[in-house]
Amino acid sequence: MSTSPDGMATHDCMDAGGRATQEAKAEVIFQRPVRHLPGDLAMWFFILAELTVFALLIVTFAVAQALQPALFHASRAALDSSIGLALTLSLLTAGLFAALAQEQLRRARSRRGAWLLLAALLAASVYVWLKLAEYGHLAAQGLGMEHNNFFTLYWILTGFHFLHVLLGMLILAWLALRCWRRSQVADDAALESGVLYWHMVDLIWVLLFPLVYVLN
């Protein structure tokens, strides 16, 4: 697009068919890309609420740590940061597949999208399997919720997040089924919202992981 000295666009944005698209027109008028919030607004309010709750839990963990740093440092030794890294990578990989699925569905490739959502579910299953193994390992050592403050908060924080992972997987499974049946593929907002929920689960873990597993 050419611009005159005063910065205004001087010709229409035309597509191959010679018709100016709505977005291109808007870009010409507003001189910037049209902003678009993906998914439903309701899902965004829900995401904000969830992020608020997790913010409170995370800060509580951090404050408790500041009050008993030696206890937290010693207790953290019972956790394996390699397992923590594997948990992180499985969640992130699931997020990638979910995002790729969304891209395929935007191009009306519903079967391909369904397969990618299934791949996301598989990656998420790795998370579930590793987490359950970790929980079992800790429980076997008697490091349950009542053992000390670190483990009370560890179980609450990661357990609550784990529930969100399970819900996210249910949502992904439901989306995969819908895509497989090629029904309502045009319902982009529902699909975007479902995938956004999963990305929120990833986002929360991104802060939870260093606090619980990494920081000394």
């Binding site: 919030l37 800060v59 740093p69 940061s81 990638l96 891209e103 802060l207």
Partner: protein, 87 residues
């Protein structure tokens, strides 16, 4: 750049930052290392928000809220670590 390629690049960045985070944590204790770990977490949050969630195309208010969350929470965590040194 094709969206798929961009998403895969985001994922590679996230993987690299995750490994970096663990290595920083294993490098020892200290406020500076902790700040580095939290900065890495912020970078990962940005990649998820702008990359996976496509918020780079979203209205500034929502993008600000979603990027503000890890900033505020990470900042508060860093604050507790800083105050802890004085206890």
């Amino acid at each position: 750049m094709a969206t798929s390629r961009l998403l895969i690049l985001c994922w590679l960045g996230l993987v690299a930052l995750s490994i970096t985070s663990v290595q920083l944590g294993n490098a020892g204790a200290g406020l500076l290392l902790a700040a580095a770990v939290l900065l890495v977490a912020l970078g990962k949050a940005w990649l998820i928000a702008d990359g996976f969630m496509h918020l780079r195309h979203a209205p500034p208010l929502w993008r600000g809220l979603l990027l503000g969350w890890p900033l505020v929470v990470g900042g508060l965590v860093l604050l507790t670590l800083w105050l802890q040194r004085g206890v």
